[in-house]
């Protein structure tokens, strides 16, 4: 019985994004869509354990939820038509296909990631409506109280309804910029899972997995966009190393990971994606980051890594995004190519005093140069600036491994 319930809930979760997206287009209201989907789940939980899961569960859920929504709207129409109208989302072109692909999930994704919404609202709404995560699940993943997360989602939905955030895929001219916003949300969800803030699990597989699932959907919807393929490549190549990344509660950096524990199937998939998107010859940030990860995952050992290629890719990335964080990552590769001294000179110039990775990089370079007292101070600063338990564990271990300063 428990197993059956779990099976129904799994199917529901799998179908949730599609269900909400199509109901939202049809009834022009996210609230109506969510309520109807919830009622369809209740119906499925009653019916499916006896009748078995229908051959097309998504279709069954859509039909059932649609009927419930119509019933509800009929009842409410008599009550307060005007109030209800205020909470309708707006659909400019209700019956036209959305460009090359007609999938309501794409509209919903662009609505959830609209730049007019607060960034934390975009992430929460995307996970809720497209990922099918519950509010408590999202709250737990981001370590905020449920009420806070609930308010965040409610505020975002209200703004969509009242300010009329459009429910459509942006036009070709606006697409690249708006697509960047969607990709940024998916990347943030992944990163929050991969190096989680706070004292909970250092890696939250439910977030990395969800980010990859949503990016896979986006890739199916926009197969021609190289940055989408680039992001998916980047995510799967990073995910492939997940199991080797934490050992005994401590972060294991790339150079020290057991490469035999990497997921070969994901690496092969990632390499194919990166080759494919680079061949389109419209390079972008995620493609380049993906390509850097492809170089790393191509090498049997750290020493065998083609560091000159990594540096060349960071040079290309710097031209697109001349940020100090890119410069910091480039310097890490420079340390392998030209030695820690050259790298340290570059790192010291960067205005990143509040960034834990800057301190951690300096600490590592100073340690390699034998400047142990300065390295110790840099490790202390890095430990103080990081909130991830596994990273703190790693840095504390490294700090303890420094030779004792000689007596004066």
């Amino acid at each position: 019985m428990q197993g059956e319930r779990a099976a129904v809930e799994r199917v529901f979760r799998e179908e949730y994004g599609r269900l909400i997206a199509s109901l939202t287009r049809r009834f022009r209201s996210i609230d109506v869509a969510e309520e109807a989907a919830g009622e369809a789940l209740v119906a499925a939980l009653e019916k499916w354990p006896e009748s078995g899961i229908p051959p097309n569960p998504g279709g069954w859920l859509t039909t059932t939820a649609g009927n419930r929504a119509i019933d509800r709207l009929r009842r409410e129409k008599q009550r307060d038509a005007k109030h209800q109208a205020a909470f309708m989302t707006y659909d400019d072109t209700p019956h036209e296909p959305t460009g090359p692909v007609e999938d309501d999930r794409l509209r919903l994704l662009f609505t959830c990631c609209h730049p007019a919404l607060a960034p934390e609202g975009r992430i929460a709404l995307t996970l809720r409506l497209l990922g099918g995560l519950t509010v408590p699940e999202i709250a737990q993943a981001f370590l905020v109280p449920e009420t806070t997360m609930g308010q965040r989602i409610t505020r975002a939905k209200q703004k969509i309804a009242l300010a009329k955030v459009p429910y459509r895929v942006p036009e070709a001219g606006d697409l690249p910029e708006r697509l960047d916003g969607v990709l940024a949300v998916l990347f943030l969800v992944f990163n929050e899972g991969y190096l989680a803030t706070g004292d909970g699990d250092p890696v939250r597989a439910e977030l990395t997995g969800e980010a990859i699932r949503l990016t896979r959907i986006l890739r199916r919807l926009l197969p021609e966009e190289p940055e989408v393929a680039g992001l998916l490549g980047l995510l799967v190549l990073t995910e492939a190393r997940r199991d080797t990344r934490v050992r005994d509660g401590q972060l294991v950096p790339l150079a020290e990971q057991d490469r035999s524990g990497w997921d070969r199937a994901l690496i092969d998939e990632g390499h194919a994606l990166i080759r494919e998107c680079l061949a389109i010859n419209r390079p972008g940030r995620y493609q380049i980051l993906g390509a850097i990860n492809a170089v790393h995952t191509d090498a049997p050992t750290t020493a065998d890594t083609q560091w000159s290629q990594v540096v060349a890719l960071y040079d290309q990335l710097t031209r697109l995004d001349p940020s100090p964080i890119v410069a910091l990552n480039r310097a890490v590769a420079i340390a392998e190519l030209d030695g820690p001294e050259v790298a340290l000179a570059q790192v010291d110039r960067l205005p990143l005093e509040s960034y834990h990775a800057w301190h951690a990089t300096r600490a590592d370079l100073l340690r390699r140069l034998g400047r142990h007292v300065e390295a110790g101070a840099a490790y202390d600063a890095a430990i103080a600036a990081t909130s991830n338990s596994a990273e703190r564990g790693y840095l504390t271990g490294k700090r303890a491994g420094l030779p004792e300063p000689t007596q004066r």
């Binding site: 005007k82 609209h114 007019a116 955030v165």
Partner: protein
């Protein structure tokens, strides 16, 4: 169509040429704003627009009590105040944001976009 308020925010402290660095810059912004207003009318997005006198000329009225209480000055003492506004009609937020971007460029100020409550019109 929904009506949106495009509110232009600028510094509370105005110099000789308002928010602008020179007479030329001020006049150029006025001319660009006039041109943008003409475009709004031609495109059918126009409802109303106006510039405001400095915030120091504002008066706050609180009529909630038995007799109205009138106080001098703007409601909130801030460094940035409402300097002027447009009311436009647009099919959705993206369209309103696009109008705001053009208006911002024309008048040389930041613009806050807010939908009106329940004001729908057909054209």
């Amino acid at each position: 169509m929904t009506q949106y308020l495009l509110a232009v925010h600028g510094p509370a402290e105005m110099g000789e040429f308002g928010d602008y660095g020179s007479r030329e810059a001020m006049e150029a912004a006025f001319a660009a704003t006039d041109a943008f207003n003409d475009e709004l009318r031609a495109e059918g997005s126009w409802v109303f627009a106006g510039g405001l006198q400095p915030a120091s000329t504002a008066t706050v009225v609180d009529g909630q009590g038995a007799s109205p209480v009138v106080t001098d000055g703007p409601y909130l003492e801030t460094k940035e105040v409402l300097a002027g506004f447009w009311i436009v009609k647009a099919p959705d937020l993206d369209a309103a944001l696009a109008l705001a971007a053009r208006g911002s460029k024309a008048c040389g100020g930041k613009i806050e976009v807010r939908p009106f409550d329940g004001l729908e019109s057909d054209g």
